[in-house]
């Protein structure tokens, strides 16, 4: 299947051009964030404070990388389970987040927010962390270094491989994919 090259920040036209099953290669800046970082971001929003980075048009990659060995910019860096971020994701999408990368299914509160505000959820291959780390060119902590592997990193990626699982139109590849191959 042909792979589409996309770059960040994601603009509306690109978000709307992506459909489930589409394989993409992402280039540009993406941010990392997991459970504890999401909790803090939402707390800041509740308090009306500024966030450590502007969410507009951005992609958040749900990952807690392993430490970078000498000579490498990052350690292994595969996706973590996205469902744990479902309680927070709609707030970030309302605030301008356009993309999420993770693994595993999302709940309706997230997919509804994606439809309403135009956002896309990509799956990266769970566990293929050594392979994926090759697409990361730069990594620097932008917030919450006290959280260790859960700190927010700003990554510069080139041709980061992912697949559209939930598009901005309500499509769900996990459900559609299963239907094709399930045998009663």
């Amino acid at each position: 299947m042909t792979k589409v090259h996309i770059s960040t920040p994601l603009v509306e036209d690109v978000v709307k051009s992506l459909c489930i099953g589409q394989q993409v290669l992402i280039s540009g800046v993406i941010y990392t964030g997991r459970d504890a970082a999401h909790k803090r971001l939402v707390q800041l929003m509740d308090e009306g404070k500024e966030l450590p980075f502007d969410l507009k048009g951005q992609i958040i990659y749900y990952v807690g990388p392993s430490p970078a060995p000498p000579g490498r910019v990052i350690g292994s860096a595969g996706p973590t389970t996205a469902g744990r971020m479902d309680a927070y994701a709609p707030r970030l999408i309302e605030r301008g987040l356009k993309g999420m990368i993770g693994k595993g299914a999302r709940t309706e509160n997230v997919t509804n927010a994606m439809k309403k505000h135009g956002a896309v959820y990509f799956a990266a291959i769970g566990g293929a962390a050594a392979l994926i780390s090759r697409s990361v060119q730069e990594a620097e902590i932008v917030a919450y270094s006290d959280l260790g592997p859960e700190a927010i990193y700003r990554l510069v990626v080139k041709d980061f491989p992912a697949i559209v699982v939930n598009d901005a139109f309500g499509g769900d590849l996990y459900q559609e994919g299963r239907k094709i191959y399930a045998i009663e």
């Binding site: 292994s76 693994k103 962390a129 994919g177 299963r178 191959y181 009663e184």
Partner: protein, 280 residues
């Protein structure tokens, strides 16, 4: 009586933590290759190929195959004629984990208190299961267990009347509910019988078997095969994107149980079925 120095335990555990995370055992890689041949989904085939490539990169470059380098689960078989000297055995194992995770640039994923959630910074405490066995040797197996698949595991106390059908339904239900989350293709570890905690431990021990090696009892081996077929017919596939390789193997372990009880535990393992052993 044979003496074993704690220093040996520390260095061996440190080595096993790293090797388990860098090098996927040949049986797992082989099972990816076999599944590639039978997988009908094109994207499923592509994913299996990428997993083979990922394992090769990790092994060649000594980096973790998965960023989640897991809880250090340690199975200890302690010969009853062994005398551990120069320290405390469990402390030595934790020291080995500390050293291995630090020196191997492995991710530290443990928090000290499950509610306060502050990272211990050294991946301790290890979860240690000890069995006293005959002889004067110590066998140590380090099996780093990732959170994603562990979180989708489940245990149920069935009624004996629910029988084998109840057991099968619960296993299928657990895999189906897990869907794409635990990084399929899976190794499905199942414990049947014992008490609640024994059953859970059996399910974890089942994950240590070579991928697809059948249980020695024919009826249990048959049940493993039947379940593997049914699980693969769920259509979940590699990475959950659709396909017929949802599981690489189902491994069942059994134990006697109370007349009133039929516990079943399902411990899911992602495709990174990591474990390394040493006999000292």
């Amino acid at each position: 009586m044979r003496t074993i120095d704690c220093e040996v335990i520390i260095s061996e555990v440190a080595r096993l933590c790293q090797e388990a995370n860098f090098k996927l055992e040949d049986d797992v890689v082989q099972s990816f290759k076999c599944s590639y041949e039978t997988e009908v989904s094109q994207s499923g085939k592509e994913i299996l190929n990428l997993l083979i490539e990922n394992a090769a990169i990790a092994a060649n470059e000594s980096i973790p195959m998965c960023q989640d380098t897991g809880v250090a689960v340690v199975f200890l078989e302690l010969g009853q004629d062994t005398h551990i000297i120069n320290g405390n055995l469990y402390k030595a194992i934790n020291e080995g984990v500390r050293k291995g995770y630090q020196e191997g640039y492995l991710r530290k994923s443990m928090v000290a208190h499950p509610l306060e959630r502050v990272n211990t910074g050294d991946n301790t405490p290890a979860v240690i299961h000890t069995r006293i066995v005959p002889g004067d040797q110590v066998k140590i197996t380090v099996a780093p267990k990732g959170g994603g698949s562990e979180n989708m595991s489940a245990l149920k106390m069935l009624k004996p009347a629910e029988g084998v059908e109840g057991v099968k339904n619960f296993i299928l239900e657990t895999v189906e509910n897990a869907g794409p989350n635990p990084c399929p293709p899976l190794i499905v570890g199942v414990g049947i019988g014992g008490t609640m905690e024994k059953c859970a431990l059996l399910a974890k021990e089942a994950l240590l078997r070579s991928v697809g090696e059948p249980h020695p009892m024919p009826d249990i081996a048959e049940l493993e095969q039947e379940l593997l077929g049914k699980i693969n017919n769920l259509g979940i596939g590699p990475s959950g994107l659709g396909g017929r390789t949802t599981a690489l193997a189902v491994h069942i372990e059994i134990f006697g149980s109370h007349i009133a009880s039929l516990p079943v535990a399902v411990n899911l393992n992602c495709h990174a079925a990591r474990h390394k052993s040493v006999v000292i």
